[in-house]
Structure formats: C-alpha cells, structure tokens
Symmetry: C2
Subunit: 509 residues, 2 copies
C-alpha cells in the first residue's frame, strides 16, 4: 500500500490521484490574430524553389499536403495560424545552411520551428513563410560522463534530452511543462525559464556553446564544451532569446549538474500573500542550497483545477488563499529531510503556514506536481476566451496585479487566476471567460496589464518571449537606444530579413 | 588558544601562519611588449581637447602629471606600459557619455580602465590613448534586501561590493585574488571567473542588467533587476567579456545568493593526478550542493610558495605530488560537517587521498586560502622572467601540459609550476626563470603552449581574456565566420574604433 501523506500538523489519509498524461491540450478559441500586411519584398515560392529545396533535404523530409501542414501552421493554443505550403525537415547543419543560403538569395521568408509549443505565436508563419522544422536534427553528439557536459542537436525533445542525462547521473538544468514536445533549440531561442530556473539559473549560465546557421547560410562553429572560455566576444548569447530572428540554432553544448539522489516535495497552505513572500525569504535562508523549486498558486487557480479536472485533487481538507509547492534536491536523504521538516515545523509554529503535506513517495510527488502543472489545462477548459500573461513582477507588487484585475473585471463573469515561479518573481496571470465576452474584456485588460507591469518595475515577458503577441509592446520594455541597437543587430545578421519576419519587432515600431 | 587542525587520519599541532596582507605585488621584469605601429587615423590630443574634457569632469578628476600618470599607464605585472598624458575620472554616466561623444567626434582613442589588475595588458594604453578611469563611479545605487539584487556603478571595488552584500546576508557570486583592487565594471568587461565560479557560475548567469555607454556617447539603459526578462535581445551579454572594446560598463545589476552560515575548508594531499580528477567527480557527487571551491596546486607550486614566502606553510608533515583545497558552504553546520567528514573518510579509506586537514576556525581557513592565494606572489619572486598562462583544458588532458612543459624545458633552469580552479578545468601554468633565459625559453614556450591547448580541446584564455597579450592567437580560438562576426560587431558598435584599440583583435589578424 502506498504511504500516507506526511503532514506537519496532522496526518491525512492517502489520496488516490491519477497522474497527468503528458498529452498536449489545445484550447478551442478561434484564431483572432489579425496581422498587418505581408512584406512585399519577399518572393512568392515557385515550383522551381520547391524542387531545389526538396533536393536539399530529400522528398521524405518535406511536408506539402494541406492537411499535414495544419499542425505546423498552427500554434498549440490555436491562436495563431499561418498559410505556409512547405515544411522542410533538414537532417544536418549542412542542409540548414544550404536552405538558408538559397532562401536568402531568393528572398524567401523562413520560420524556424522547434516543438511549436511557444505561447506568443513565435514559431508559426504569419503568412506563407517556409517552415524550417528542426525535429529531424535530434541527435546527441557527445556526452562527457565526468563533467556532465552534453552536446546535442537543436531538434532534440527536451524530455528525451533530460532523460538521457538523467540516466547517466546528471540533471538537465531546464524543465518545463511542455517538455514532452518542446525542443532544446527552441528553448534556447526563447531563453526558456521553467521550474528549475530557481536552482540552476538561466540558459545564459548553463550554455557553453552553440552552433548557429546565419540567414546567409554561414555556419558559426561555437560549440565550446569548456566551462570557462574568454577568447573573444561571447557571441552565442546574442542568439539565446533572439526567437529565431537572428540565426538558427542547430546544436548546443550545455553543462548539467550532478543529479541529486534525494528529492522531497511539499505543498503548503498559506493564508496571506505577505506570508508567501516571507516564506520565500526564509526558505532560501533555511533550506538554502537544496531548494530546487518554489512554486505559487492562488486559491482560485487551485479551485478551477480541482473542479474541472477529475485527476487533480487538493490534498488539504479545506482550502487556503494561497498554495506554495516546495521541492528540495540534495545529496543526503537524511539531511534534506531534517532541513525541510525543521523549516516546515518552524513556519507552522510561527504561523507562516496554515497547513502542509510532505510527499512520501514518487507517486505523491507526482500528485503534487500534477496540481501545479494542470493549471494551464484547467484554464483552457474554463472558458472560450482566454487571456494568458507571463510577467515578471517584483515581490512587493507581485500579487497586486491579480487583485487589481479582479476588481477591474468585477462586473464581468470571468475567472482571474494566477500561479507561477514566484521564487523567480514570475507570475502567470490567466483570465478566462465566454466567447462573447472577448471583445469587452480585451479592452479592459490590454494594454492595462502591460502598463501596470511596467509601472511597477516588471517585465511584460518573463519567459515566453515577444513573438508576434507582444511585439507592439516591445517599445515600452526597452529604451530607445537599446531598441535601436536591437534593430541594428537584426540588420547586421539578417540584412534581407528572411528569418522569422513579423516577430519581435512590430511592423509599426 | 586557537584549536588544532582537525586531521582525518591523525592530528597535527596548530601552525601559526601570518595572513596575507592583501597588498599587490609587482614583478620586476621590464616591459617586453613591442606593439606594432600606432593607428594614424587617431588624432593627437590638443590643449583644446584637454580643456574641454577637464570641463566635463572638473579639474580634480584629471591626472596629467608625469609621475602621477605612471600607475595608470602601467599594468600590475609591469609588463605593458603606455604613454597616455591624460587620465579622466568621471563621476557620472552623463560625464562618461559626454567624454565618449567628444572623443568619438574628434577621433581620440580611449582606454576604459577599472582596477587595472588584468593580466593580458587590456587595461593600459598601448600608445597615448586617453585613460577613462572608472574609480570615481563607485556608488551602490540600490540593494533589495529580499532578493539580494544589487545595482551598483562600474567603478566599485569588488571587495567593497562583496562586503556590502555580505553585511546584508548575501554572498557576492564572484571572488578572486585581486578583489582588493579590481572593480566590478572591469570584472564584467573581462567576464572574470575566480574561485566561486564552481558554485555560482559565470557572470552571464548572475548579471541581470547593465548600463553601458557606447563609443558615440549613447547610453543603453538596460539595468533590469528582474531574474527573468525575455523582452527582446539579450544585449547586455555582448558587453560581458568584450574587454572594453564595445562599450563602457557604467553600472550593473547582479543577483546575489543568500550567504551560507556554515563554511568549511579542507586541504588534501593526493599522490596522483588521476586521483585528483576522481576526487573531483566524487566530491561533486557526495558533497554536491554545498561544494563552493575545488582548487588544485601541484607540489612544485606549493614548495615554491613555502620556500619563498615566510608567511606560507604547508600544514602537512610531508609533501605530496598534488594538493586540493576544498571549501563547502551551506545552511546547516552539523549537516555540512557530517557530509564533508564522511566524504574525506571515504576517500581516505579508499586511498584516494593520502592526508587531509580540516580547518577548525576562521584563522585556519585563512591559512589554507593563503597557501592557495600566495601562488602568484611566489612565482613572481622566483625569477625575473615569468610566463603566465590561464588555460581551460579538459580534465583528461589537464595535467598533461604541465608534464609536457617540464620535459620540454628540462635542459633549462626554470620553475614549471601549476595551480588552478580545476573544478572548472581552469589551469594556471606558470614558468619562471632568470632574466637572461627569457629569449631562449620564450621560443620554446610560445606558441607551443597555445597550440597544445587547442589541439587538446582547450581554450587559450579561460578567464583573463585576450587583451593585448593573446590577440595574435585569437584566430586559432575562433572559426573564421565567428571572428568575422566579432569584427562586424566591433564595426557596428564602435565604427571609429576609439574604444580600447589594439586589444582583442591583432593588427595583423
């Protein structure tokens, strides 16, 4: 029999909860994107072009049939939809280089595409751009057992890569909900964050080298596998977070930390937001070096998930205004357990937490993570109009925006729920309502959310990027000189502008 | 009375060792740099220029007297010497902007200078470039007690900054021997590594934002204080490690981890290099999350230090071929002690280490670190001709180069010693000899050291940068396309080429 949840104040019977299936969900809202006009400088794809490009990658690595093109043309939220008639799935860096060289010469626009799990419309065409899908470039080129440095191609699925290093005693420093579909090249291109960011930091820190193909087909061989290398400018960082607009990442070297043999997961019920922030500060202090996740959910989000998804349960007998999921990972089971339990006991006795459960086995751990990871699915089922925001907000203002939005939208029937990587000040604010409410809500929400965020020292994109969704708000995020330099960099690296056009920079900006 | 060293196999009486003074040492070798010709495109400084620039910063922030100019014109190894007649010490970003705008218009070359502690001649003029010294810009602009994020000006001395955050319960993620003189702006410009790199990673990971003045005087306001911010290209990273050739870093936001209340230091004697590497792998596995330093020294280096410096002692009764200094930092004294002791006991019983001492108080910790940090001073005292190399070499070849150089130089009277941050594969190879031996040794050492390093998958500059010393070897470190892109970036950001000329790129390259 599976063990009981270990509770800090009292014990609760074991709860049988299904695991998440890991399947993608797709929201049902119709495409509402209305892009401005197509750039007339681009050429229209001819039969001759298709024939040349087919020769480069071989016919079986091409998708042309209308129905088969659909998933490549549509983002996973079904919010953005392009009309590309050609998907190319190159097998090698050389092929990527040949494709881009040809497209650059012929002025054919290209969308680099990984797992197509982005949430800002960055990985699908706006019009008829050729889709350069990296999924066939999914090999691991090298792994060093002593250092944990892995060199792999851009198209490998994050979960496959993560499993590969895990089986060899290392932890991949990046983990996120879409791991079963997203690819490391796309993760790097969007500087993905996720749940392990708190412990292992950003991809700028763990990436040692990249192989990148420029718009003109030139290959930058920068696949260093050294933790320290100060020979010349640190060029790879320009491509991390450039959302496929400056070059195509065909391979990467990433440094993985040793896998921790002891992992503990706890869920905490908290009765005020001030206590949540205080908890974070104390947790970093007392659990310090073993803290590997500190995730936040509000009551509204948890109630939405438990009411709409049969496999999701709240392990507490009563609900709380706020929930915090803590994970620790360390090298010594006994020490880690002692630290975490002591921390929870202290918090409980000092009234920082109202209740807490500590998972007793892998299955209970999965159940707690299921609650946290089911949030996007719950929101998608709660309404036909969904507004998703991925924001960075300083701790002192973090929950203010959620309260503010609830009050602002009080007259409308909608769900305003939030969760996020609060350990990194990353808030995921979600608002859902009926299809009819879209227009009226839309005006009340945007640009208000972005302006509020900027006014409170935050960022309008913590981890999802700018893509197509936020390009018109980029100017409120960057000062004029920095924006100008971004444009100069684009001009330098992709003078014809074939790489992921209409993304990052708005056509009006 | 101070406690005894705690030894894993047996106890040894307390050793009274003076602490390092923290003073800079200066080697006595004469300037041997022989730069190629001055770029005739630059203007010569006129009385009118001096008058204008003096007005910008005020007279008391200018150095013009020959003798007073000397320390600004000379690097700390006294290997490189310029002939600048003007040092400007601006007080604000606005002043830096005005200076650069003027110099750019007038084609006056400028060397940005921090603490001038670099080892590759990057922070002193080659000819008569104006020195833009940042030391007056040493304010802390903001510190967030809850997140540990500090925003400070570029000219603050690393030790002052480190003390500031330490007093507030945080650890500055960068630490290095020159901390008493070097400045954070210079550290960022050279992407400094140091001893904490193993635990806290590179500055690319911990830097959240920069304020940079471009060659034309434009200010890039990129001082984000958010851990996650994916709005647009990650421009600050271009300047990290660009060695003052792309812009002047006037301020930075850096994320500091919580200070660990429990710190332990141990010195290990090891009888083969294979065991050193095995020890590293095991240490990462068993001590894992609390490992904060793993430093290496060979017997020759330790013997040089103990024989030449009266305040340095080897705590062991006999010498060993290799020494490893381990530091742990964690949140729980008892746990950390148990982990480290258990690890050392295991290693000892399995014959991975021959002996070990564990520091029992702060003074003994300092003594162990003194041994490690006295290495550069010992080498400087051991001869008049000194060759210093800062290399990254994969673990399996790490010590091969040292052995190789000893055999190559066997016929010559010289010291070949090595130490380094082996936890990050960073070797500091040092060769010293008499003044007369310089020419003959020089030919045997260079470019051999660099070629060997490249042939074994290493980097010719792990943390010191390229500067003036290694510019002619840059082409062996970067592929042609990447080098070309570096030059295009330089052209884009500093089209007149006034910023730190003759550095990074060789005039021949």
């Amino acid at each position: 029999m599976a063990p009981c949840w270990k509770r800090v104040n009292y014990f609760l019977g074991y709860l049988r909860i299904q695991q998440t299936t890991g399947k993608r969900f797709v929201s049902e809202i119709a495409s509402r994107a209305s892009p401005s006009g197509k750039n007339s400088a681009f050429s229209r794809l001819t039969a001759e072009d298709v024939s040349y490009l087919k020769d480069v990658v071989s016919s079986r690595c091409v998708v042309e049939e209308k129905e088969a093109l659909e998933p490549f043309n549509t983002d996973w939220m079904r919010k953005y939809r392009g009309t590309s008639s050609l998907v190319l799935k190159p097998n090698s860096t050389e092929q990527v280089s040949q494709i881009l060289q040809y497209c650059n010469n012929k002025k054919l626009a290209v969308v680099p595409q990984g797992g197509n799990t982005g949430l800002v419309g960055g990985s699908v065409p706006v019009f008829d751009e050729i889709i350069l899908n990296l999924s066939n470039m999914n090999r691991i080129r090298n792994f060093d057992e002593k250092s944990g440095i892995v060199t792999c191609e851009g198209g490998i699925v994050l979960e496959a890569l993560s499993n590969f290093v895990s089986e060899r005693g290392y932890t991949f420093p990046l983990d996120l909900g879409a791991k079963g579909s997203c690819q490391i090249g796309g993760n790097l291109a969007t500087n993905a964050g996720g749940t392990r960011f708190l412990r292992y930091g950003s991809l700028h820190g763990s990436t040692l080298g990249l192989e990148v193909v420029l718009a003109n087909g030139k290959v930058l061989h920068m696949l260093s596998t050294l933790r320290k290398d100060n020979t010349g400018y640190h060029i790879p960082h320009i491509f991390i977070g450039s959302e496929g607009t400056l070059g195509v990442i065909t391979a990467a070297s990433i440094c993985c930390p040793k896998k921790c043999r002891s992992v503990h997961t706890a869920l905490l019920g908290v009765d005020s937001f001030d206590k949540v922030t205080e908890l974070l500060v104390r947790c970093k202090d007392e659990v310090g070096e073993i803290l590997s996740a500190f995730e936040f959910m509000d009551r509204n989000a948890v109630e939405l998930a438990t009411s709409l998804l049969s496999h999701v349960r709240d392990p507490f007998p009563k609900s709380f205004p706020f929930y915090v999921l803590i994970e620790t990972a360390g090298s010594n089971e006994k020490h880690d357990e002692e630290k975490l339990e002591k921390f929870l006991e202290n918090c409980y006795s000092e009234d920082f937490i109202s209740d807490a459960v500590l998972a007793q086995d892998q299955s209970q751990m999965n159940q707690l993570w299921t609650l946290r990871e089911s949030m996007p699915e719950a929101v998608s089922r709660s309404g036909k109009s969904i507004f998703k925001y991925d924001l960075s907000i300083p701790l002192e203002h973090f929950y203010g925006l959620v309260t503010e939005m609830r009050s602002r939208l009080a007259q409308h029937a909608c769900h305003v729920v939030s969760w996020g990587h609060i350990g990194d000040c990353n808030l995921h604010l979600n608002i859902s309502s009926s299809e009819e409410a879209y227009e009226s809500l839309s005006k009340l929400i945007e640009p208000y959310v972005y302006e509020w965020t900027r006014a409170h020292g935050g960022s309008i994109s913590a981890e999802h990027g700018i893509g197509r969704m936020k390009s018109k708000y980029l100017p409120i995020s960057k000062d004029k000189s920095t924006l100008e330099l971004m444009k100069q960099m684009k001009q330098l690296l992709d003078p014809v502008g074939i790489l992921n056009p209409y993304k990052v920079f708005s056509q009006e900006a």
